[in-house]
Amino acid sequence: MMRICLLLLLLSLSAISQISTPSPEPQFKLSPARGVDFVLRNSPTSRKYLIETMPGGVALLDYNNDGLLDIFLVNAGHVADPLRSPVNFDRHDPSYWNRLYRQNKDGTFTDVTVQAGLQNAGDTNYGMGVAVGDYDNDGFADIYVTNFGRNILYHNNGDGTFTDVTRKAGVGAGGWSASAGFLDYDNDGHLDLFVTRYLDWTPEKSKTCGRIAEPMYCPPGEFGSATSILYHNRGDGTFEDVSAASGISAKPGHGLGVAFADYDGDGFTDIFVANDAVEQFLWHNNGNGTFTEVALNSGAALSSTGKKLSGMGVVFQDYDNDGLPDLLVTQLPHEPYIVFHNDGKGSFSAQELETGFGALSGNVSGWGVGLEDFDNDGWKDTFIVQGHVFDNVKTYDSSLSYREPPLFALNRKGHFEKGDAGSNLPVAGRGAAFGDLNNDGWVDVVTTSLGEHPKLYLNRGGKSHWLTITLRGKRSNGDGYGARVQVNGQVRFATASGSYLSSNDKRLHFGLGSADNCDVDITWPSGIHQKLRAIKADQFMTIEEPER
């Protein structure tokens, strides 16, 4: 039988840039973050050590509870050329420090790294990502930093300072950690910690790929796999590594992104790990302290054509307002970003084409990602920071770019269409965090890019109504992570995790469109249901978990 000749399709993707159909008004304005002088110093070398191209994370958190979001940025480090063990990334040098910027009332930022005690993340650590959660329920956001090397847990002392409690807490991990996140997997009211690890990589195991004259970073398949880590919070300031007991360490992968949601409605938070170049992992929480990896048989492991994703960033929220959390996974070019639609009854189907991502992606590389209602119309839109892994990708494929502008797409009842991010500035984008920086009811974006200052995309706003909720757990964990919050039919799953290496504003934002009031239904991790009726729109409200 004659087959259609697909030869031409085998050629790599073209250099022709995608032509967008911009909306009349840009949703964002690329604005200077005044006072933020941070540069993500990844220190690329001629030897193309893979760690160089993977950082770094950003967190939006209110560390001093003044009602204003602050910015924490993870820096990388100096990479010697050649790099030899024992490694020294010169993190004592202030230019390689992680940085905490406190937001002032006038919208400017002040570098409070030193006064907060967050300087010098250790010479043997090359920075990657950040997770934020109040692990000791003292009402202050704590910070966990992932590294190639030893991870660090900074306890927020509540007075503007932090203390490195890694050793006491027992959460140093080791190896190459990537994204991490706090969740309460056993609903005991204490936030546990999940850490993805990327590869079994060391300077000695490093390889260089590509042509001799034009070396490039090696793909992950050149290195061994690594296991993720689950730390159980004992509730006394210490954690227990339950990776083996929970089943998490039974399946090594190439974990880069992580996101949490209770996808099957059984009351226990599940875990999705975006893996690079192997099957994606969906860890179903069995409710007894163990997890089972079910991605393949649930339909969330592969693309609809059976391909392994080069999964990097991931977000686990409900994009089509059917009440079930879906997955959006970013990846490398030649395949669109994948939407795993939650079909209910524990199964997913890849619907990247139905949702419009076939047209929006395919020739780009996505990292940090969010599903947020940027235009407050009641449908979660997406913002994805982009840029190829290889800084010399053009020499291998002229159709691809190391630096790319972000993708902003508006959700039109479950179908995404290209929007105007307000800037087409191309960057080697990596991390992205989402939150309402200026408390105007419209979600903003902070992104990181290799070798550059972070980018602040301030939402220009509009006329639609909104509601922003801060959860305060009592029987549940204080952040309310894991709660299912429904507002006028839309659902969000409370978490600061998702994206890539980054941590988002923990407040839950809802666009209400033309509705000037709303009903709120909350299912807390404790199992308590709470209903609030006729809540006035356009306000920030704090909701405390009731006794029952």
């Binding site: 004659m2 250099a15 649930s298 059976g306 084409l353 419009g356 020739n363």
Partner: protein, 359 residues
């Protein structure tokens, strides 16, 4: 492979050469050399043939056998001088022409090899030599003749493809030289840029071609493919749509349009176009798979039918595995978990077989 075949021919040499006589010592040496050669002891054979040649320098037989022994040893360079001398002594010998032609060709002297291979009627080697001598038209003819005799020779198949491509390239160069500003001229340039992955230049040439001859079949299809590989599905759709108007009976064009619509998220229109493609040329597995994909969410029953047809055609191929994976998803969505589990088992079975490295 061709050279080896020729050597087998050589060992049934024409009688007039073998029969020519030298001194008795030389005859003995020839015999011992021949014995050594048949044992595979080429060093000994060459040493004895050389001694025989020294004893009977005007013996074409000894020279031919010496050249032949060198060739069996794959020392083609050393084979050439004795064969050339043999040809001086026996200019009409087909065997000498044959071996010399091969020896010259293997050393890259294609032009010099051609007359010898012509005389020896070695159409396969002659075609290869002609290809290397930039005579693709002649090469195509001779290689085609050789393939008629040896249709399963991978070397011949390879060189025939190469010659055809070279002929096409030559034809295109002639077209470009004589008619550079025509639609065909721009089309050829566009194809060249496309092959070099210079897609924006290719796009420009196709647009020029279309401006000159918007009704020329193939232009919109090829331009659409450029947009498709860069995931510009709206533009690809536009071009495939234009091509479909020109060639409404072309199943591939309908498939391309359907796929562009599918990738662009226009599932309903995609399904219509893919159904049209299927009606024009039934049982094309890619069309059926795309149809299944387009219908997976909106019409799972029809999707299942399309996917079962893919499996019926493809059986154990990677596309069949893909079809099972999509079937599993479709069945899960309908709550048919047992069927989905069975589909997944089939997917894993075929996928595992397909992904096993060759032994």
């Amino acid at each position: 492979m061709i050279v080896y075949a020729v050597l087998l021919v050589y060992f049934v040499l024409p009688a007039q050469i073998v029969a020519s006589q030298g001194p008795a010592e030389a005859a003995k040496l020839l015999q011992s050399a021949t014995d050594a050669e048949s044992r595979g002891d080429f060093e000994q054979a060459i040493a004895d043939f050389r001694k025989a040649v020294e004893l009977t320098p005007s013996s074409a037989t000894a020279l031919l056998k010496l050249g032949g022994a060198y060739m069996r040893k794959r020392d083609y360079e050393a084979a050439i001088p004795p064969l050339k001398r043999a040809l001086e002594l026996s200019p009409d010998s087909l065997a000498v022409h044959q071996l010399l032609g091969y020896a010259l060709l293997s050393q890259g002297y294609a032009v010099e090899a051609i007359p010898h291979l012509e005389i020896a009627h070695e159409s396969g080697a002659l075609g290869i030599a002609q290809l290397q001598a930039d005579q693709p038209k002649e090469a195509v003819v001779n290689l085609k003749n050789a393939l008629a005799k040896s249709p399963d020779d991978p070397d011949l198949i390879y060189y025939f493809g190469k010659a055809a491509a070279a002929l096409s390239s030559e034809s295109n160069e002639r077209l470009l030289a004589r008619f550079p500003q025509t639609a065909r001229g721009h089309q050829v340039l566009g194809q060249n840029y496309y092959s070099a992955k210079r897609f924006s230049e290719a796009e420009r040439e196709y647009q020029k071609a279309i401006a000159l001859r918007p009704d020329l079949p193939g232009l919109h299809l090829e331009l659409g493919e450029i947009y498709a590989v860069s995931s510009q599905w709206t533009q690809a759709e536009e071009q495939f749509r234009s091509e479909a108007k020109l060639q409404p009976g072309n199943a591939e064009v309908a498939y391309r349009l359907g796929d562009a619509l599918l990738q662009g998220g226009k599932m309903k229109e995609a399904a219509e176009e893919l159904r049209r493609s299927d009606s024009l040329r039934p049982d094309m597995p890619e069309t059926l798979y795309a149809l299944g994909r387009a219908l997976a969410v909106s019409d799972p029953t029809a999707a299942e039918q399309a996917l079962h047809r893919v499996i019926a055609v493809e059986k154990e191929s990677p596309l069949a595995a893909q079809a099972y994976l999509l079937l599993a998803s479709t069945h899960r969505r309908q709550g048919k978990s047992e069927l989905a589990a069975r589909d997944m088992e089939e997917y894993k079975r075929i996928h595992n077989v397909a992904s096993k490295p060759e032994q």
